[in-house]
């Protein structure tokens, strides 16, 4: 119970972190430490944890939040992905940072689920290389390819900046991602440009705009940002009434969970 409460509070604490503060990996390691009770913690966190432990157990929630914790990503991978989504989606006047929007959880769930495991992907050999227009040709599941790319990107990052990606200052991280996206970062084994454009970037935009049931787009924040009203989308009358006019429902989108 206590662990669950702590995990929840620590997650909220991370949400309140000012923009551009500590690298993402620290957050991951702190959370692990809080649960395991080993690694050193920042004083504020120790206080929180101690307080929680000392108090009588509050009525427990029925279950931990489904959108916390990782299924596929290990600590270093999670640190990479959290840094990635926070660079690509910084906290600003439009949304909280990427982690707090659920983007890292979305990516983790996709990698752990059918997509990441190669569902609907033709995986029979032989394996040959060809033009990019003929598509993905590796005997790796998307999850494996994603993780091979993380390792390659981190190696390239260390060569450039003498530290792993999660430890870069936000400006450097953004610049490094741009280099990857434009195919300027080479790795002897992984085509990082294709890795980014065909796997990482689509997962990022899906994390932002998919139904929140998948863990991203938390609180429909991206739907509100653009004005997508979501469900139920029975617009027979709206089609005429709001043609060419602002649509009121766009400010209050509804998702699958709202109708489940």
């Amino acid at each position: 119970m206590v662990d669950r409460d702590d995990a929840g509070r620590l997650r909220k604490h991370a949400s309140a972190r000012p923009q551009g503060d500590a690298p993402a990996r620290r957050d991951v390691l702190k959370r692990i430490a809080a649960v395991a009770g080993t690694a050193p913690l920042a004083p504020a966190l120790i206080a929180t944890a101690t307080q929680a432990a000392a108090q009588p157990a509050a009525p427990a929630p029925a279950a931990p939040p489904l959108d916390s914790g990782y299924q596929s990503l290990g600590p270093d991978e999670a640190a990479f992905v959290e840094a990635l989504v926070n660079v690509m989606c910084p906290a600003d006047h439009l949304t909280p940072n990427g982690v707090d929007c659920g983007l890292a959880v979305f990516i983790d769930r996709q990698l752990a689920g059918g997509f990441g495991q190669g569902e609907r992907l033709y995986m029979q050999g032989p394996w040959r290389k060809g033009k990019p227009q003929l598509g993905y040709q590796l005997p790796l599941t998307p999850e494996e390819f994603f993780k091979a790319g993380i390792a390659a990107a981190n190696a390239a990052c260390k060569a450039h900046y003498a530290k792993p990606f999660f430890a870069l200052a936000p400006g450097d991280a953004d610049a490094f991602l741009k280099e990857i996206a434009t195919g300027k970062v080479s790795d002897p084994r992984v085509s990082l440009g294709l890795w980014f454009s065909e796997l990482v970037y689509p997962l990022f935009t899906q994390a932002c705009f998919a139904d929140p049931i998948y863990g991203g787009n938390r609180d429909k924040i991206f739907w509100r940002m653009v004005g997508y009203p979501g469900l139920p989308a029975t617009h027979r009358n709206d089609m005429v009434e709001f043609r060419g006019k602002p649509f009121p429902g766009a400010k209050h989108p509804k998702s699958i969970a709202d109708f489940s």
Partner: protein
């Protein structure tokens, strides 16, 4: 060992639109029909009910209704000298899977093609001279005329309750309709859908330029409708979840909404679901198909199903593959031009511009799958091609079909790919932008064809189909011309920003969705040296084997294929009724 089953009169491969139409005619006249469909009936699943029907990630991004590429995909190469590779997650097009087939997840565009389309070679040679068609374009007449197909178009539009505005009734042009429309006997069964704001902007710009825009004919029902079989459509909700989705409101005309429920009530109709056809049994001596073999995916057992008549109603690609695997008809050879099976494979040559209009509320989520406003001035041979250096053209439209936010956001050129500026651009333009599309002709080229892949196999151990396809010279020139026309219209819109259309160019990209309108491979015609089936869709090398679908089109027009393949299927149903009574070469 396969278990041999009791003989059926007619067995149909594939449970999609053409199968339902053929079966409607046959069972209505007393002939027993068996349909074998590899997928299942999805009418009560999450794909057909709220709230999960509205799941863009599952049904659109992950193509949850389409053919499972892990089971069967295609290999692709751009030319005969290239090595093909399997498209491991094909993005370009989306064959169906399940009752209704690709006609379940269609958008609803329902065209009659140009009156001259079935006689295209005659048309071009008559208008531009005998030398007009380059030697590498295999343009040929279909062996059927529009006038012969008109009664079947008429019936299909009634069955499907098509919404539209006639442009040409018995030769008299109708205001508000398409002036290039082939002559119809009467008005559409239902009035047209409501246009979108994008459609109205497009319409005004087209009128400024002197074009004649019209609301495209649609299988999304503009009102409540009861068809001649007593089946009902509900009014369209403009929910923006048509293509790649199943309509939960029974407002989109589909086989499983309008046709299969009637068939399933007939004692002489049977459909076996989750039954995957492995092949056609062919007696080469007698030149007859004796039946088909299939795996029941539920029991895991293999069966041999004898039949008097076999009809291939599978997706374009599968019709061709089944013939190639059975060795019925000579495979096409691009080196010599000999052989026929696999030839005339065509696609759809598209391009698009994005338009951003700051002070107009486009509200892209208020849309149906085919709420389009279109012009046909630059489609097919509706304009003079003398001196242009290409043949064909494109319908140009503002078809705003949805505002699903993963795949259908537009940001102005130069917007960063992520970060605050990216988010701001999405926030600024999501509700204030739309695209204009050219849906263009694809004419048969001697090097574009289908064959069996020598290397890769499907989950049943059978060879994958190989596409040899690329955008050839005629397509690229046509696309450049029509893209320029799109841009002229876009520039007449007082738009804040226009991201101009650029021509389709080689190489064909398998990763990006373009259109599910693949056509050809088993072309129809009057000459057995250039066609697989006759003008009655009867196989030249097996009198009791028939093929229908877009696979019989000798070329693809700047229109969606559904109207034409449906008319051909209804006509085949009539032909087969006569054939079953008195088997013969039709």
């Amino acid at each position: 060992m396969a278990t041999r089953l009791a003989k059926k009169t007619v067995v149909i491969v594939g449970g999609g639109l053409t199968a339902a139409l053929v079966a409607r005619e046959l069972t209505g006249k007393g002939t027993d029909v068996l349909v074998l469909e590899r997928g299942h009936d999805r009418r009560n699943g999450p794909e057909s009910t709220l709230p999960n029907q509205r799941d863009e990630l599952r049904w659109d991004v992950h193509a949850g209704l389409g053919q499972d590429w892990a089971v069967e995909t295609y290999t692709v190469r751009h030319g005969t000298k290239d090595e093909a590779l399997p498209a491991r997650r094909l993005g370009a097009f989306l064959p169906g899977m399940g009752l209704g087939g690709a006609a379940s997840h269609w958008n609803g565009f329902t065209w009659r093609w140009s009156e001259y389309d079935p006689e295209l070679r005659t048309r071009f040679e008559g208008r531009y001279g005998k030398q007009a068609i380059p030697a590498d374009l295999l343009i040929q007449d279909w062996g059927v005329t529009y006038a012969e197909m008109e009664p079947y178009h008429h019936l299909f539009e009634k069955l499907y309750g098509i919404s539209g505005k006639a442009g040409n009734i018995k030769g008299a042009l109708q205001p508000g309709g398409n002036p290039f429309e082939a002559p119809r006997r009467d008005e559409y069964p239902q009035p047209p859908l409501e246009p979108t704001e994008a459609g109205l902007i497009f319409k005004a710009a087209c009128e400024k330029l002197g074009h004649k825009p019209f609301i495209a004919p649609s299988g999304n029902s503009s009102g409540a409708y009861t068809n001649p079989d007593g089946m009902r459509l509900a009014p369209c909700q403009y929910c923006g979840h048509c293509e790649k989705f199943i309509c939960e409101a029974q407002a989109k005309a589909t086989p499983e909404t309008l046709l299969y429920p009637v068939l399933m009530g007939r004692p002489n109709f049977e459909i076996r679901l989750r039954c995957h056809v492995l092949g056609i049994d062919y007696d080469g001596q007698a030149k007859r198909a004796t039946g088909v073999r299939y795996v029941d995916r539920v029991t895991g057992e293999e069966y041999e199903q004898p039949a008097d008549v076999v009809v291939l109603c599978a997706f374009t690609m599968t019709n061709t593959r089944l013939l190639l695997m059975a060795g019925i008809g000579e495979p096409y050879d691009p080196a010599t031009g000999a052989g026929v099976v696999g030839r005339n494979f065509c696609y759809q040559t598209n391009s698009a511009a994005n338009v951003f209009v700051k002070d107009r509320w486009i509200n892209p989520f208020l849309a149906s799958g085919s709420t389009g406003v279109t012009i046909d001035e630059f489609n097919n041979d509706n304009f003079d091609h003398a001196g242009l250096g290409f043949l064909g053209g494109a319908g140009i439209s503002a078809n705003l079909t949805n505002g699903r936010p993963i795949g259908n956001r537009r940001v102005p050129p130069g917007t960063p790919q992520w970060g605050t500026q990216w988010k701001q651009a999405n926030a600024d333009w999501y509700a204030h932008s739309f695209s204009l599309q050219a849906q263009g002709t694809s004419y048969p080229h001697r090097e574009n064809y289908l064959s069996l892949d020598p290397t890769w196999r499907d989950a049943y151990g059978q060879p994958l189909l190989r596409l040899t396809f690329d955008w050839r010279d005629n397509d690229v020139k046509m696309s450049a011309y029509c893209s320029q026309k799109i841009n002229e219209i876009a520039n007449a819109m007082d738009a804040t920003v226009v991201a101009p259309a650029t021509a389709r160019k080689s190489p064909f990209d398998t990763r990006i969705y373009q259109s599910t309108h693949t056509t050809g491979g088993t072309p129809m015609g009057v000459d057995p040296h250039t066609s697989v089936v006759s003008r009655h869709l009867q196989h030249w090398d097996a009198e009791n084997l028939f093929v229908v679908g877009a696979s019989v089109f000798p070329h693809n027009a700047g229109y969606n294929p559904t109207g034409v393949l449906a008319a051909l299927a209804l006509r085949l149903g009539d032909d087969l009724t006569g054939y079953v009574e008195r088997p013969r070469r039709l």
